[in-house]
């Protein structure tokens, strides 16, 4: 299963709720303002690093670049483009958006 999160973890509870409900082995894709959850040195970094032991985490690079957050992604988070987003959707049976 693929989960998408598009909100900042500092403003909304969607990343937190997603991490709580994502099963081992599932994938999480951070897009739009959600990419702020993919960064090193923030108040949520530790939680995200912890989650990486259980789930795969991806972040949409065009959104990271738009926000000037290049080179800040946590090690282990895979950076993809829209084409990679499409592949992720195709590879997983269901997609759930954490709106």
């Amino acid at each position: 299963m693929l989960h998408t999160v598009n909100k900042s973890p500092f403003d909304r509870n969607s990343l937190e709720s997603c991490l709580k409900h994502a099963k081992k082995g599932s994938a999480i894709l951070l897009i739009e303002d959600g990419i702020y959850g993919a960064l090193k040195g923030t108040a949520v970094t530790k939680k995200v690093e912890e989650a990486l032991k259980k789930v795969s985490i991806y972040a949409l690079y065009p959104d990271i670049e738009a926000r000037g957050m290049q080179d800040r992604a946590v090690d282990g988070i895979k950076l993809i483009d829209y084409s990679g987003f499409v592949d992720l959707v195709a590879e997983h049976n269901t997609v759930q958006a954490w709106l």
Partner: protein, 119 residues
């Protein structure tokens, strides 16, 4: 693969419709089929023929219309949500059609994947 798309937010105000558009384009480029893009909630505002963004900005509505024309994509606007927000046949942009919520359910049934873009 056959993909269904749901867009819940209006153009410019939220990035959701930008992301949906770029996703759909990438999917087409990779050879996937888009079964339908369904516009709900403020998403119906993506179909307003009256929007005039600044000239140095993208034109989101025109972009959808062009995509629909070039790739025969079915762009469906929910009638109930549209009426609430003042979208009708006479201000509906090219390439969009107004229909019922059943089209969203049918999208879920017919598509191999349904992807939601919202707030």
């Amino acid at each position: 693969m056959k993909l269904g798309i749901l867009v819940n937010e209006g153009p410019y105000t939220h990035q959701a419709s930008d992301t949906a558009y770029l996703f759909v384009k990438a999917a087409i480029d990779k050879g996937h089929k888009i079964h339908r893009v369904f516009f709900y909630h403020d998403g119906v505002n993506n179909s307003s023929s009256l929007t005039e963004p600044p000239t140095d900005d993208r034109n989101i509505v025109a972009r959808w219309s062009k995509l629909a024309k070039e790739h025969k994509i079915d762009l469906v606007v929910c009638v109930a949500a549209a009426l609430r927000r003042g979208i009708k046949d006479n201000n509906l942009a090219e390439g969009f059609r107004i229909s019922g919520l059943g089209q969203l359910i049918e999208t879920g049934i017919q598509s191999d994947r349904t992807v939601v873009f919202g707030d």
